[in-house]
Symmetry: C2
Subunit: 493 residues, 2 copies
C-alpha cells in the first residue's frame, strides 16, 4: 500500500514560494466561505514518525486564520479524561459548525500503536476501526467535513530523519526517538490494516509523500483546498452520503400490537407495602451508590416515558436516597446554541459523569427517535441511523465500565387523561400541563409505534430497556428503585 507513494517527488524552493502564496490566498478565502456555510472541518494528521506532522500543522496554522482554528494533541491526557469513556476526549474537541479543528493522530493513534505493540490482536484492531468508521459516517452525515491525511516516508528517508532526531538536543516532548526496525515494521502493518478498514467512500484517506518537506506541505494544502472546495460546491453531498450509508434497519412494525402491550398495567401496590419497600430499597440504593463511588464506577440512568407517567416522581424517590454530592439530574430541554452547533450526541457526551458519580437523564438522546421522529424534526434517514448510532454510543459506555440503565414509564391513554385533568385542578401542578401535552396526546399512536421500534432496536444485551408499569405510581417508583438496586448489585459484584 505505502510503496505506491514512494515516488521521490520534490519541489524547488522557488516553486514552493510561488505555489504557497497562491494556496494561502485560496485557503483563507475558503475558510471564510466555510464559516458562512457553517461547515465544521476536522483535519486528522497521522503518519509515520519523523514525517514532520508538527511542521505541517504549524504550516496550516500559518495559512489559515487561526482565530477559527484549533489544534489538539492527545499526548497529555488529563485525569478528567481518563475517568470518562475513551472517546470523550475527542467529542469535547470536535469542531463546531463553521470552525476547523486539527487533531494529531485523532482516534487512530491509540489503536494503531496498541496493535503495533502487540497489546491487542487483529480482531480487536478491526473492532476499533469498525467503531471509527461508524463515528466518521455519523459525523459526515451531520455535515462535518473530515479530512484524513497520512504522511508517509520512504524507508531511506525515514532512517535519515530518525538518525537526525537521535542527534538532536532541542527539546520536543512526546516525540519518540525512533522505533527499532522490527517495531517500525509492526507499526506499518498495523497502520496499513487500519487505513484499509477506514478508507471509505464518504471519508477516504489521503496519502502524502513526505520525503521532501516542501512537496509534502504543498500537497497537504492542495488536498485540503480541494476537499473544502468540493464540500462547498456540492451542496447535496451530505444528503447523498447519508442515503448511501443508510443503515439496514429491521423492518418497522406496523402491527397493532406492540411491545408495550406486554406491560401489565394492573400491577399495583398498597400504601403499606409501598412505604415498606421504599424504605428498604432506598437504604440499599444509598449503600450501593457509595459502593459505586469507591469502585470508581460511573452510572448513567435514562428516564423516558409518556407525559404524566411519573418520571419526575420516580427520579425524586431515587435521588432522595443518594448523597447529593454523588448525583446530577440532567433535564433535557431545548439545546443551547453551542449545542446546536454540534452533532446531536455532543451535548450528552459533555455532561458525562466522572468516575464514581451518577447522572440521571430526564429525557435523553432517545429524543432523536421519539419526538424528533414523530414531529418530523429529523428526517427519516437521520432517525433511522440513530438506532445504530445510539447502540454504538451506549456500547462505548459499557466498555468503559459505565453502568447504564434505561427506563420507559408506561401508562394507558386513560390514565394519562386522568392525570392531565388532575394536574389542571391542582394549583401548583397546573404549570406542568400545557397545550403541547394535549397535542402530543393526539399523536399517541405515532409515539406508540416509535417506542416499539426504539425498544426493538436499542434494547441490547448490554443495555436493555426496563419497561415500567406506571398506571400505579407506587408500583412505578418501586420497580425503578428495585431495578436500580439489582443492576448496581450485579455490576458491582
Amino acid at each position: 500500500m505505502f510503496e505506491a507513494i514512494e515516488l521521490g517527488q520534490t519541489l524547488s524552493k522557488a516553486d514552493f514560494k510561488a505555489q504557497e502564496q497562491q494556496l494561502r490566498a485560496q485557503l483563507l478565502k475558503i475558510q471564510r466561505d466555510l464559516i458562512e456555510s457553517r461547515v465544521a472541518t476536522l483535519i486528522i494528521v497521522a503518519g509515520v514518525e519523523g514525517a514532520g506532522k508538527g511542521e505541517v500543522v504549524d504550516r496550516f496554522n500559518k495559512w489559515f486564520d487561526n482565530r477559527g482554528m484549533e489544534t489538539h494533541a492527545f499526548w497529555d491526557e488529563t485525569q478528567e479524561e481518563l475517568e470518562r469513556p475513551q472517546y470523550w476526549r475527542f467529542w469535547r474537541r470536535l469542531p463546531s459548525r463553521g470552525s476547523i479543528a486539527v487533531m494529531f493522530g485523532g482516534w487512530y493513534w491509540d489503536p494503531i500503536h496498541q496493535r503495533a505493540a502487540g497489546n491487542i490482536d487483529d480482531a480487536e484492531l478491526d473492532d476499533a476501526m469498525q467503531h471509527i468508521r461508524e463515528l466518521e459516517r455519523m459525523l459526515t452525515a451531520d455535515g462535518m467535513l473530515i479530512i484524513k491525511l497520512w504522511f508517509h516516508l520512504s524507508p531511506t528517508a525515514h532512517e535519515k530523519r530518525m538518525k537526525k532526531r537521535r542527534g538532536m538536543t532541542r527539546h520536543v516532548p512526546h516525540v519518540g526517538n525512533g522505533l527499532s526496525p522490527k517495531e517500525y515494521t509492526a507499526f506499518l502493518i498495523a497502520a496499513e490494516r487500519s487505513l484499509r478498514h477506514t478508507d471509505t467512500g464518504g471519508c477516504p484517506w489521503h496519502m502524502i509523500e513526505s520525503d521532501n518537506r516542501r512537496f509534502r506541505d504543498i500537497s497537504a494544502g492542495r488536498v485540503i483546498g480541494k476537499l473544502m472546495t468540493e464540500r462547498l460546491t456540492e451542496t447535496h453531498v451530505v444528503e447523498r452520503l447519508s442515503e448511501a450509508h443508510e443503515p439496514e434497519v429491521l423492518s418497522i412494525s406496523d402491527q397493532q400490537k406492540t411491545i408495550l402491550d406486554k406491560v401489565d398495567l394492573d400491577a399495583a401496590l398498597s400504601r403499606e407495602d409501598y412505604h415498606e419497600l421504599l424504605t428498604r430499597y432506598q437504604a440499599q440504593v444509598n449503600e450501593l451508590s457509595w459502593k459505586a463511588y469507591d469502585a470508581k464506577r460511573s452510572t448513567v440512568m435514562v428516564f423516558e416515558g409518556w407525559d404524566a407517567a411519573g418520571k419526575g416522581g420516580s427520579i425524586r424517590r431515587l435521588t432522595n436516597a443518594i448523597d447529593a454530592r454523588l448525583f446530577r439530574v440532567i433535564s433535557v430541554a431545548a439545546p443551547t446554541d453551542e449545542e446546536l452547533a454540534h452533532h446531536y450526541l455532543w451535548r450528552f457526551w459533555r455532561q458525562f459523569p466522572r468516575a464514581g458519580y451518577m447522572a440521571l437523564y430526564d429525557r435523553s438522546w432517545y429524543g432523536r427517535v421519539l419526538v424528533e421522529r414523530v414531529e418530523k424534526f429529523a428526517e427519516q434517514h437521520a432517525w433511522m441511523a440513530a438506532y445504530r448510532e445510539i447502540n454504538d454510543f451506549e456500547e462505548q459506555l459499557s466498555q468503559h465500565g459505565t453502568i447504564l440503565m434505561k427506563f420507559w414509564l408506561h401508562i394507558s391513554p386513560d390514565m394519562q387523561l386522568q392525570r392531565f385533568r388532575e394536574r389542571e385542578k391542582t394549583p401548583w401542578k397546573k404549570h406542568k400541563i400545557t397545550e403541547e401535552d394535549w397535542r402530543n396526546r393526539n399523536k399517541w399512536d405515532d409515539y406508540r409505534r416509535s417506542v416499539n421500534d426504539m425498544v426493538l432496536h436499542t434494547s441490547t444485551g448490554n443495555c436493555p430497556w426496563t419497561l415500567v408499569s406506571a398506571n400505579d405510581k407506587y408500583n412505578a417508583r418501586i420497580e425503578v428503585l428495585k431495578t436500580v438496586c439489582e443492576q448496581l448489585k450485579h455490576a458491582l459484584d
Copy 2:
C-alpha cells in the same frame, strides 16, 4: 458571635411534618418563579463539623425540583482544576440564570481551614476574605442571589455528634473524624473572623442553630424561602445594591491629552531590520514557549487595539513561532446563550489554559470598559465597577503563576483611514471592513477616553499594559514579539 445562637431551640416531629409540607409547596412555587425571572441562586452551606450539612443538602434536594438544581462539593479536586487558578473550580460551577446551585463550603472552606491549621496568618485570611467580598459583590450586582448559611452546634451537641461519628462504621468519604479541642477552637476563631469580614449588607450570613435536626432543616428552609421571595418582589434590589457598592474610581479624565499621546507613532523599522529581528525573536519565543511548558506555567496574552491596528497580523507572527499544540487563539465575538446566562467574566474563566499552555485573546474582558462603555451596553456603575473586577481577576491569575501580558495596538486616525481604504481595495481583505468599523471610527474620541481610563485603572504592577506603536506594522510586530520574549524570560528565570 456563635454563643448568640446557642439557644436550645427544637421542633417536635408533628410540628416539623406540618411545617415541612407547607414549606415545600412554597419553595417549589418560588423555584418556578425564579426560573421565570431568570434569577441565578447560589446557596453556600458551611458550618462546623457534625452539624449535618450533608443531611440539610439532601433535604434541599428533596424540597426543590432537582431538575433545576445542582449540588457541588469540592472534596475531589481534579488535575484540570489544580492546573488553573484557585477560583476556576467555582466559576465553572456557578449557576446560570434561572437555576440553583448548592455548594458545600464554597470558597470559604479552604481559607478557614488553612487558617485553623496555621498555614496562613490573619493577614492572609483577611486578604482571602477581601477577595471573596469582592466576588460576592460582583455576582450580586450581576443579579445572582447568594444565600450563605452557617450551621452551628453548641459545644455539648458538637461533642456528642463527634463521639457518635467515631463509633460509626458506615462509610462516608471525606468526612473528618473530629478535630481535637484545640483544633476545634482554632477553627471557630478562624470561622468567626471570616464570617465577620464577609457579613456584608448585600450578602449577609445566616446562622442556623443545628443541635436539633428538625429545627435546623426548617430554619434553613425558611431562610431560603424568605430570601428568595424578597429577591423576587424587590425588583430594584440589584440596582440599589450596585449603587450602594459602587467602587470609588479615580476621576475620569476629560483632558485633551491622554496616555496614548505618549506613544511615539513615528517608530518604524526597515524591511531588512524587520526580517532579521523577526527571525531572532521568533526563535526565542519558540524556545521560551517550551520552557514555559516544562515549567508548567500558563501564559495569557490579551490583544486590544483600534480597528485595523494590526492585531491579527501581530498574533500571527507570534503563533507562527509556537508549536501549534501549545497555544490557542480565542477570538472574542458575540457571547453564546450559555455565556449570556452567566456573569460577563464567566466565559473568560472557562477558556483558561491548562498548566504549561498559552491562550491568546483577540479582544478580551476589556470589552466591558471599551465597546460596552462607549456603546452604552453596560450601565455606568457596571463598567466603572469592572476596573476593580478586572484587577481582582488578573491578580488571581498572577497569584496562580499565570504569565499575563496585555497589548494595546495604537495607531493614528489618519493611519486607520488609510488602512480602511486599502482594505476596501484589496479583494480578499474587503470582508474585514464593515459599516460598523466606520461607525466606530466616528467615536474615536469616546474610545480614546475609554482607553486612557482603562490603562489608568488597570495597568498595575503585576499586569501592566504595553502600548504598542503600530502605525508601522513591522514595528508593531517586533514590539509585541520582543515584549513577549522579555516577559517570558523574566517570569521563567
